[in-house]
């Protein structure tokens, strides 16, 4: 039995035979060519680029469908390399000058870049080297006329052991036959780690000499929680891990078994479990994970990475699609939340000393009613296609809410005059993410149809912690007593005014806080789709009364750390 240590890149435990993937060696010979062959070689190069491009786009599409947009975006960097003028021009000019085969020249140029990049100390750049290598190999394969051998041929369930896994390796795999990844190199942000997480299988990366020490078909235990790989385990170890694997599988199974059940406590209090989305194409994943609505539909993406402003029609089409797809469930659209840490390319915004305290979100929208009203009109028009609601981000006091509502009325009036149908009673909520709003929630509740607590900003503002500054990150405590009290105040104020209150910040998707928030009376939890089954499961394990008792006790603790430990312990008790 040998134990190897590495980096825990994706959690879980898996036991199975090793399947080794060797580094692919492409042999490239230097062959002088004649003057008249130069155009042929250039053509070969161009065709290879086109073929590679087609291949990558195909792969990107497939991954987008199988694993989501975020994973597919990895290939954007690949395409950039492929279209790189500097690289292409250098190959062609050297080809003309040196008169040797293009494969040889290309591999030389590629190597030159990789050598330079390897010398720069940067985590992200190291991962990009893998991208460049990956694209480079694809192009070379086409230049040499070779077909790719891939993991597509797997027949039985295995643990894949490799020096490193490229996105194309993982994309070609039969996912149901791979139970874990082990690689020699890589870090927590490597492709292997990202892929493993989205496939929900364990991975240990950065295991030095894994490919040397592990032989084909060796029995392996991969512990993705601790970052350990055990080769040829003894009986006792095997037994311990076997039980642990079963236990974890059981838990995952339990979560999935309730994904379509209502999120109701044992004594019958039903909670709305919603999903957060940014893009319309996330809707299938929302449905797949059993969300009963969308609690936060972010709309900033319309404005990202473009020079012109989006048209009302673009907004409308997207909202209409989501509304129709989710019908009869509610969809809460958050109006434009630009500024702060969100880059905006169309507007001349002076750089600010403290962008999070600056001209952002509703403040920006109120100052630019033209942009704001365009979005409001689009939401109103789409409101006849489903159960749409809208909410304003970063409301800090009643005047802002009133002002925003006045602009909404103007938008309605404009549509009315044109005879365009809309839902006149569209519910309008306020996001509560500024301490001043949290403290005056009773006043705001009179003018709002619902609240949604944005915890990320609420925490950063109430604890005075810049959440992107590493030096003070330790102070960013979601369970700080100050935060809990603010949340309690918001919920109580909402319930006194008979309106519902949800939460769409990261805290809502954190399993250990679920019981406490449930007990505080939160009506709706909105989170990334993947967490939904687990949250439902937790809620179905307790009575509302139990949860209230947990919340009551948590409110009496004096530090965020104590609250966190307490919540964790309670969750473990309940899940037993």
């Amino acid at each position: 039995m040998i134990e190897l240590k590495g980096i825990a890149a994706a959690s879980g435990i898996s036991i199975g035979p090793a399947y080794k993937i060797g580094k692919e060696e492409l042999v490239i010979e230097r062959e002088p060519i004649k003057e008249q062959d130069i155009p042929i070689q250039i053509q070969l190069f161009e065709e290879s680029l086109i073929k590679t491009r087609r291949e990558i786009i195909e792969l990107q599409k497939r991954i987008g469908l199988e694993m989501g947009q975020e994973e597919a975006e990895i290939f954007d960097a690949h395409l950039l390399v492929l279209e790189d003028r500097m690289l292409i021009e250098e190959v062609i000019s050297r080809l003309k000058k040196e008169k040797v085969n293009v494969a040889y020249i290309f591999s030389g140029v590629l190597k030159k870049y990789i050598d330079v990049f390897s010398k720069i100390e940067d985590e992200y750049l190291k991962e990009r080297i893998a991208d460049i290598n990956d694209v480079g190999k694809r192009i070379l394969r086409h230049l040499l006329g070779k077909e790719k051998k891939s993991l597509g041929d797997l027949k039985e369930k295995v643990i894949v052991v490799a020096h490193d896994l490229s996105p194309s390796d993982t994309a070609a795999m039969h996912k149901q036959l791979v139970s874990a990844f082990v690689t020699d190199i890589g870090g927590k942000t490597s492709h292997t780690a990202i892929m493993a997480k989205s496939l929900e299988i364990p991975a240990v990366v950065g295991v030095e000499e894994a490919t040397v020490k592990i032989k084909p078909s060796d029995l392996l235990i991969v512990d993705g929680n601790k970052g350990i790989v055990i080769i040829d385990p003894d009986e006792k170890t095997l037994q311990i891990y076997g039980q642990e694997e079963e236990r974890l599988k059981g838990i995952a199974q339990r979560f999935l078994s309730v994904k379509d059940a209502p999120a109701a406590t044992i004594d019958g209090r039903t909670i709305d479990i919603y999903a957060n989305i940014e893009f319309p194409d996330e809707v299938p994943s929302v449905k797949l994970h059993g969300a009963m609505g969308i609690g936060l539909y972010r709309t900033e993406f319309f404005y990202m990475n473009r020079k012109d402003l989006p048209l009302e029609e673009e907004h409308y089409q997207a909202y209409k699609y989501v509304a129709e797809e989710m019908k009869p469930y509610s969809v809460i659209i958050r109006t434009l939340d630009l500024g702060g840490d969100k880059f905006l390319s169309q507007f001349e915004i002076p750089s600010e000393m403290q962008p999070f305290l600056g001209w952002r979100a509703i403040r920006f929208c109120l100052a630019r009613p033209d942009i704001f009203k365009l979005q409001l009109r689009a939401i109103l028009r789409a409101s006849v296609h489903g159960n749409l609601k809208l909410m304003y981000p970063m409301i800090s006091g009643i005047e802002e809410l009133e002002q925003a509502n006045r602009i909404l009325e103007e938008a309605k009036e404009e549509l009315r005059n044109k005879g365009i149908p809309f839902n006149n009673d569209i519910p309008v909520g306020a996001m509560i993410e500024v301490p001043s709003a949290a403290m005056t929630a009773d006043i705001l509740a009179k003018q709002a149809d619902f609240f949604s607590i944005g915890t990320n900003d609420l925490i950063q503002y109430s604890l005075a912690v810049d959440r992107v500054n590493e030096k003070v990150a330790y102070l960013y405590e979601p369970a700080h007593p100050a935060v809990l009290r603010l949340i309690k105040n918001i919920i109580d104020a909402a319930h006194n005014a008979h309106i519902k209150v949800g939460m769409c910040g990261e805290m809502a998707g954190e399993p250990s806080f679920a019981l406490m928030l449930l007990g505080l009376g939160l009506d709706e939890f909105s989170m990334p789709p993947q967490v939904i089954p687990e949250l439902k499961y937790i809620i179905r394990c307790v009575t509302f009364k139990q949860a209230q008792e947990i919340a009551h006790q948590a409110l009496m603790l004096s530090t965020g750390r104590e609250v966190e430990e307490f919540s964790h312990a309670k969750l473990n008790e309940v899940l037993k």
């Binding site: 390399v81 790189d84 500097m86 870049y113 720069i120 750049l125 390319s345 750089s351």
Partner: protein, 89 residues
């Protein structure tokens, strides 16, 4: 036609070799102007990801962006925003 040259300090925490590099190149490619970026040692094509990565500009480095063409003005102002953004979105 315009030729605009601007000195800018890289403010992004990850320098110009993380995601901002890719973003920079994507934006640069939207413009017709010829765009070059240089530090005190090298000058590279601003539309090339390899070039930008090669520059290896850390946070705090002074770089010069040059745009030559009809849309030079807007090119510079858009690219400047990427470089002077302190955080990636």
């Amino acid at each position: 036609m315009a030729l605009i040259r601007k000195k800018i300090v890289v403010k992004n925490k990850q320098g110009l070799h993380a995601r901002p590099a890719a973003l920079f190149v994507q934006v640069a490619n939207k413009f017709d102007s010829r765009i070059t970026v240089s530090n005190d040692k090298e000058e590279v094509n601003g539309k090339s990801i390899m070039g930008i990565l090669m520059l290896g500009a850390e946070k705090g480095t002074l770089i010069v962006i040059e745009a030559d063409g009809e849309d030079a003005h807007s090119a510079i102002s858009e690219l400047e925003k990427i470089i002077s953004a302190e955080e990636e979105k």
